[in-house]
């Protein structure tokens, strides 16, 4: 994507959101779009870590859960206004990411995947078992709607605008990082950690920083989720939730911001479309994942291009 066109793309994106918000009144569609927004945030956060820095995380839902649970506990048990709970939710996730990241990010490959998986499972189990604080398996109810001063984001429409404004802000933020010196250093780590270190990138510190940033964005999504549904339970933040985030990034195409948006949209809509299959829903979902990955291992967006080029090559030969 050419830098020259970026402001135009952002403007088009903002106009698109405004148009959708203006046209759509159906509560179901609005809700769906809000969830696409939340999932886009999650995919963006993991994409920074996985797509750009090349560090896999199979426990990213933990940070999503931490964000949601911190705000839920603060606003229900301690009656703190949501606006004040926001920095606490994001901050808590970032601090935990920093502590966990220090030993974990020294690992690589499958081992890093397993380390993050183990961390995610432990957070999930703590959420489920620490009933006196988290409400246990039945979760927490009565989370208040989000309000900033006199403005209350109680309706689906206002929440739609809020979530997508945040998405746009995070997209711009991520894009700015990627186009900076830090972003180039991240890509260098992705291509070869030793080579990056050899040219003077402090790989360990940078990996930790991007991990913490990524956790912060995921926690922001968790915060927005909690104040959207007013009820949270550990089930939403387990192993499968983590895998779903990874899938969004990979299906959309790694190291691509628009790929994250596309992957998140697809994986949010897919279960809705699959409702038609009722009992076969799981079977079809699993099949779709496998088939896409077998034939388009670089994700759908690039996969289509790859397949077209292969087709053209064989066609030219004839």
């Amino acid at each position: 994507m050419n830098d020259k066109y970026l402001p135009a793309i952002y403007t088009a994106f903002a106009l698109g959101i405004a148009f959708l918000g203006w046209r759509i009144d159906n509560a179901y569609y609005l809700q769906l779009l809000i969830f696409i927004g939340l999932n886009t945030l999650l995919a963006l956060s993991l994409n920074m870590l996985m797509g750009y820095a090349g560090q896999i995380s199979l426990g990213h839902a933990a940070f999503y859960g931490i964000g949601a649970y911190v705000t839920a506990i603060l606003t229900t048990t301690y009656q703190i206004p949501p606006v004040l709970a926001l920095p606490a939710a994001v901050g808590a996730a970032m601090v935990i990411a920093w502590i966990v990241g220090m030993p974990t990010l020294r690992l690589s490959g499958y081992y890093l995947g397993m380390g993050t998986l183990g961390f995610g499972m432990i957070v999930h189990i703590v959420l489920r078992e620490w009933s006196s604080v988290t409400g246990g398996a039945s979760g927490l109810v009565g989370i208040p709607p989000l309000s900033v001063g006199p403005v209350e984001f109680a309706s689906n429409k206002s929440y739609f605008f809020l979530v997508w404004a945040v998405v746009l802000a995070v997209i711009i933020f991520c894009r700015r990082i990627i186009d900076s010196r830090v972003g180039r250093a991240l890509c260098a780590i992705h291509d070869g950690e030793k080579a990056a270190a050899a040219v003077g990138v402090n790989t360990r510190r940078l990996k930790l920083q991007v991990f913490v940033l990524s956790a912060g964005i995921a926690a922001l999504a968790g915060f927005l989720y909690a104040h959207l549904v007013f009820f949270i339970s550990p089930g939403s933040f387990g192993f499968m939730a983590s895998i779903k985030i990874v899938t969004m990034v990979v299906i959309g195409g790694m190291a691509s911001i628009w790929g994250a948006l596309f992957g998140a949209s697809l994986l949010t809509l897919l279960p809705e479309w699959l409702h038609a299959f009722s009992e076969f829903e799981m079977v079809v979902y699993g099949l779709v994942l496998m088939v896409v990955m077998i034939f388009m291992p670089r994700g759908l967006t690039r996969g289509v291009v790859d397949i077209y080029e292969r087709y053209r090559k064989t066609h030219d030969r004839q």
């Binding site: 996985m50 090349g54 896999i56 199979l58 030993p103 974990t104 690992l107 690589s108 490959g109 499958y110 081992y111 995947g113 397993m114 380390g115 998986l117 183990g118 961390f119 499972m121 432990i122 189990i125 703590v126 489920r128 078992e129 950690e193 192993f239 895998i243 990874v246 899938t247 990979v250 299906i251 790694m254 009992e279 076969f280 829903e281 799981m282 079977v283 079809v284 979902y285 699993g286 099949l287 779709v288 994942l289 496998m290 990955m293 077998i294 291992p297």
Partner: protein, 291 residues
């Protein structure tokens, strides 16, 4: 003392099951460098096939056991042929998602075939629990321990004494080298899949009498078996056995002396501990590889 022994017994039973599941992970990782996230689902298939064959079709125990293992191993080989081999550029992330997709697919299939209810079958031999120093050891536990011992001995002999076993070891050591000396690498991978999923089926069929089996039992069993494999050292036969038993026993002790709610956390805490302190596992020697 009696309490401790009781926890040890229940830990050993679970540990033996984790060990067999861990073996499945290790065997596959050894010859293919692949972690099969659907492995737990093959354990589920083993358990539920066993239920259908014995309680449903009324087949005698021993043939049912072998048919179960054969069917699940065939399913595993089919999985390799259809979903793993066609991957052109096998990157770990891609393989992780394919196997996760397979696990969702298999869970869905399990739900379609066996429904959402939990099933159980009577123990292999209807004998009263054995009393040792006041602690009770279930007859089924003894069965599981016997099966694990036989499996370990069998696999050890397979890898050390047979040509096929040695060829598989060669693939694990150096793929290109194995290919140059004429080892049919593709068949070895297929065989490794059959072996690994067959082991999963053994674990599933063995626990069918002592737990309730349902379509969603596989994920957590798979993850724990995986923790066991990592604990002992991924890719090592004795490591998988050691890791599985260690995990089972520590978990049982945790339940007995700390809290039962956090039972599942034991495996993952151990996993993190091992990764931070000794990523190659207790018995592993290989260097920690990157993608």
């Amino acid at each position: 003392m009696q309490e401790l022994l009781q926890y040890l017994f229940s830990g050993m039973t679970n540990g033996a099951v984790y060990a067999v599941i861990a073996l499945g992970f290790s065997m596959l990782y050894n010859s293919t460098d692949l972690i099969n996230f659907a492995h737990g689902e093959f354990v589920m298939l083993g358990a539920l096939c066993m239920v259908s064959l014995t309680a449903g079709a009324g087949i005698a125990l021993v043939p049912a056991f072998f048919v179960t293992v054969a069917v699940v191993a065939a399913a595993g080989m089919l999985f390799e042929r259809l979903a793993i081999r066609p991957v052109r550029n096998p990157q770990p992330v891609v393989l992780i998602i394919i196997t996760v997709g397979a696990s969702i697919f298999l869970r869905g299939t399990g739900m379609l075939i066996w429904g959402k209810d939990a099933h159980s079958i009577p123990p292999f031999l209807d004998i009263a629990p054995i009393d040792i120093a006041g602690a009770r050891l279930l007859a089924q536990s003894v069965w599981i321990l016997v099966i694990v011992t036989a499996l370990t001995a069998g696999l050890h002999l397979f890898y050390k004494k047979t040509l096929t076993g040695k060829a598989m070891t060669a693939c694990a050591v150096n793929k290109k080298g194995a290919w140059i000396v004429g080892i049919p690498f593709k068949w070895m991978v297929l065989l490794a899949f059959g072996l690994s999923t067959g082991l999963g089926a053994v674990a599933g069929a063995s626990i069918a009498p002592i737990t309730m089996s349902s379509y969603d039992m596989g994920t957590i069993l798979g993850l724990k078996g995986f923790c066991g494999a990592m604990l002992g050292g991924l890719g090592s036969l004795w490591g998988a056995i050691l890791g599985g038993f260690l995990l089972g026993i520590l978990e049982a002790m945790g339940v007995g002396f700390v809290s039962s709610g956090f039972k599942d956390a034991t495996a993952f805490l151990l996993l993190l501990l091992v990764l931070y302190v000794r990523p190659q596992g207790i018995l592993g020697t290989a260097e920690v590889k990157r993608f």
